[in-house]
């Protein structure tokens, strides 16, 4: 990194710290000030929490602030907002939307959820049947969403709805920002195999959304949703995760802590997975270096694919390693968690939860199709629905 830039960032951080001493400033107040100083995400534009710098400078700022003991958000509560809503609003939102939504999103005052999937539209997302009909300055929305992670905590939802049933299905979609507290939004817990209800069903009945909360043009929803999905697939990791981040770190920790459990067979398996995890980490790093300010492309799919498989194999191996303790489970009671915990809980929880990694945010099969078709340029699968009008989305 060039020295002048580094000095400039250091000065900005020092000024922020001088004006808002973390020791005496409330965390929220500090975070808002950090956002306003352009030190939230330096690759965002000035005025929106950033400085218009390349992405790679962010870790330097984060390090300085952490070293000074500055408060930070619990990022795990904000994965969906930070990873998906923010880049989408930045790319396609109006200036007014950017000003209204990005700051509380970043500070953690407002949690987001993703209202995409429906019972009949999962992999085939363009088949969404939730209807939004225009009524003057507002849209009236009716339909059902499903598997909506932490909808019960969300203030806002990224909503994909059908606004024109008469045109081919990809062309009839529009993207909205849905107020989860609006009348007609009903969130029902949906229990997951872990015992928890981490995701929900969301029923939308005559929900009125102001046209000002439409993102992109009417009919442009597929393109906007695509940006969200591409970001989802790379948002899963930090920008620069250290070695042994994620599931490999957890399982390596168990291995180090429990010499009594070690066997040669499991050792060989663990070492190979360690090598694969490191390969995936470096692949992710390369991807982020290439990204800089550009929008993520289909290559991100490969990293998500690898990380999902590794999380599953590693958490499965951990149970084998634990043996007798692997047969225990913390608690089956149904609760509604505040956040999505991918590596938390006990080993049994991790094993079960990791199964979702290859389904959420696009299944591994769909990601392979994306790599095959969009990276390698292979012919598409024959499909029965292209050009079919959307009023009866294929189910």
């Amino acid at each position: 990194m060039d020295e002048t830039l580094r000095t400039d960032l250091r000065t900005r951080v020092e000024e922020l710290l001088a004006e808002h001493d973390p020791a005496t400033t409330g965390p929220l107040e500090f975070l808002r000030a950090r956002f306003d100083a352009g030190l939230a995400w330096v690759h965002f534009p000035g005025g929106l929490g950033g400085l218009g710098l390349p992405r790679r400078h962010q870790p330097f700022v984060a390090e300085l602030l952490a070293a000074a003991g500055a408060p930070d958000r619990d990022r795990r509560r904000l994965t969906i907002g930070l990873g998906m809503a923010a880049p989408t609003i930045l790319a396609y939102g109006t200036e007014e939307q950017q000003r209204r939504f990005l700051r509380p999103l970043w500070t953690g005052e407002e949690v987001w959820c993703q209202l995409f999937s429906e019972p009949g539209a999962g992999s085939d997302l363009a088949a969404v049947a939730t209807r939004a009909s225009r009524d003057g300055d507002t849209w009236v929305v009716n339909g059902q969403k499903v598997w909506t992670s932490v909808a019960h905590k969300a203030r806002w939802g990224m909503l994909l709805a059908r606004t024109d049933p008469a045109v081919p299905k990809h062309a009839g979609l529009t993207y909205f920002l849905c107020d989860m507290t609006a009348p007609g939004v009903e969130v029902r817990p949906l229990r997951q195999l872990t015992g928890e209800a981490e995701f929900d069903e969301v029923f939308l009945s005559d929900v009125r959304i102001p046209d000002a909360h439409r993102v992109g043009a009417a009919g442009e929803g597929w393109r906007v949703a695509h940006a969200t999905l591409m970001n989802e697939r790379i948002a899963l990791g930090d920008l620069a995760p250290p070695r042994e981040s994620g599931m490999i770190g957890v399982v390596a920790g168990t291995w180090r802590d429990r010499p009594d459990l070690r066997t040669p067979g499991l050792h060989a398996k663990l070492l190979w997975l360690w090598a694969e995890a490191e390969a995936a980490r470096l692949t992710g790093l390369r991807l982020h270096q290439k990204l800089e300010s550009d929008h993520p492309g289909p290559e991100g799919s490969a990293v998500k694919l690898a990380l999902a498989r590794l999380a599953q194999q590693l958490s499965g191996l951990e149970l084998e390693l634990l043996g007798a303790d692997g047969l225990r489970y913390a608690d089956w009671t149904m609760t509604q968690p505040d956040l999505v915990e991918l590596t938390g809980g006990d080993a049994g929880y991790r094993y079960l939860r990791a199964k979702g990694n290859s389904i959420e945010g696009g299944t591994s099969e769909i990601l392979r199709n994306i790599i095959a078709e969009r990276v390698l340029g292979l012919p598409r699968e024959p499909r029965a629905d292209s050009g079919v009008a959307g009023q009866e989305p294929a189910r």
Binding site: E320, A324, S358, D385
Partner: protein, 372 residues
């Protein structure tokens, strides 16, 4: 070199008698052990005791492996294996494996007519007091016989103990391992249920502190009997795993046949078809391996057959359950859909009676492929 083609002289197919037995077990389970009923086990409910009585007493499965002169059906391990396939298919929360296979095997080795007769009639349900993870090659007793003749020690994660009326407890003495009978309501034993990864085979921690017991086997034969019971258990658990795997495959095929995305039936995508074809081939291989392990119960090749069965079938069952969740998409992750029942059973079964790595290490000795 081997001149004998292991397995060639054994029948690896299902006999008419076995098919009839399967039908009667399946008929009962279809009405009394639905996925919905099984799921309630995780919230403290479930078909539990009454279902077990019907299977054990009405269908006389408790005494399946007990010779007729001791009040049993005098069937072979092959029939028990078919029962286990069905129990796996329905993820039935009943102690057939732990009581009617493993405990019966140990009791038969002890030659104690009273114990076997009571286990056979279903009057008693038994459990061998070893951790469920213990394989035939890795057994060492955690309980010892005290100077006053009572039993003392802790045994973690014992399967079947919650349902048990009697516990068969391997107990160490200076001379070796003895086998003791302890009544489950003895004041000297505490049985603490464990919140288990697989609640359909819930385990419990045992603590024996001065438990009164009757010795069934002395130190000259105790260990052999325990290992023999665990080996038979490992050999037959493979059939349960085949039942689990087969059920997962079937569930997935049925679901994807009707699930439509992109205007097509999802099962029609070639990538999906290939996955299912691979899985089918693996389930069929697991079936062959499990059938061999069941047929080899009285054969000198049983140690190889049992370790092969656990190394292979445990992995196939886990694979099938994982594919089942994955290929269902979001619905496979939900509580209300039964895929998770299979996943939890398959994963717990993989750890049970010796994991694949332990069985492969044992196989390495048996088939002379030393490590270094």
């Amino acid at each position: 070199m081997n001149s004998r083609a292991q397995g060639a002289d054994l029948d690896l197919l299902y006999s008419d008698v076995e098919d009839a037995l399967r039908e009667s077990v399946r008929a009962l389970l279809s009405s009394r052990c639905t996925a919905q009923q099984v799921t309630t086990v995780y919230d403290g409910g479930g078909p539990g005791g009454r279902l077990w009585r019907s299977l054990a007493v009405d269908l006389e499965l408790a005494g399946l492996l007990v010779p007729e002169e001791h009040g049993g059906a005098g069937a072979s391990a092959r029939e028990a294996a078919v029962v286990l396939e069905e129990l796996g298919r329905f993820v039935a929360p009943v102690p057939f494996l732990t009581s009617s296979v493993i405990s019966v095997s140990a009791a038969l080795a002890a030659g104690d007519g009273t114990v076997t007769a009571r286990l056979a009639s279903g009057e008693w349900t038994g459990a061998l007091a070893v951790p469920l993870t213990t394989g035939p090659a890795s057994f060492t007793p955690a309980v010892r016989v005290d100077a006053d003749g009572t039993l003392r020690g802790r045994v973690a994660v014992v399967a079947g103990a919650i349902e048990a009326d009697v516990l068969l407890v391997p107990a160490a003495t200076a001379a070796g391992t003895e086998l003791h009978l302890v009544m489950a309501d003895d004041p000297g034993i505490r049985i603490t249920p464990v919140v288990s990864l697989d609640m359909t085979r819930q385990v419990a921690d045992l603590e024996l502190s001065g438990a009164a017991s009757r010795r069934l086997l002395d130190s000259s034969t105790g260990e052999t009997a325990v290992r023999g019971a665990l080996r038979l258990g490992a050999a037959l658990l493979a059939s349960e795993q085949v039942g689990v795997a087969d059920s997962c495959l079937q569930l997935t095929v049925d679901y994807l046949r009707q699930r439509r995305q992109f205007g097509r039936v999802v099962a029609g995508f070639q990538a999906v078809k290939h996955r299912l074809a691979d899985l089918w081939a693996q389930v069929e291989s697991a079936r062959a391996v499990a059938r061999y392990a069941a047929a080899a119960a009285g054969d000198p090749d049983l140690p190889v057959a049992a370790s092969l069965a656990q190394a292979y079938c445990s992995e196939v069952a886990v694979l099938a359950a994982e594919e089942c969740v994955q290929l269902h998409g979001g619905i496979g992750m939900t509580w209300e859909y039964p895929a998770h029942l299979y996943l939890k059973r398959a994963k717990a079964d993989q750890l049970a009676l010796g994991n694949a790595a332990a069985h492969l290490t044992h196989l390495a000795e048996l088939v002379n492929l030393p490590s270094g």
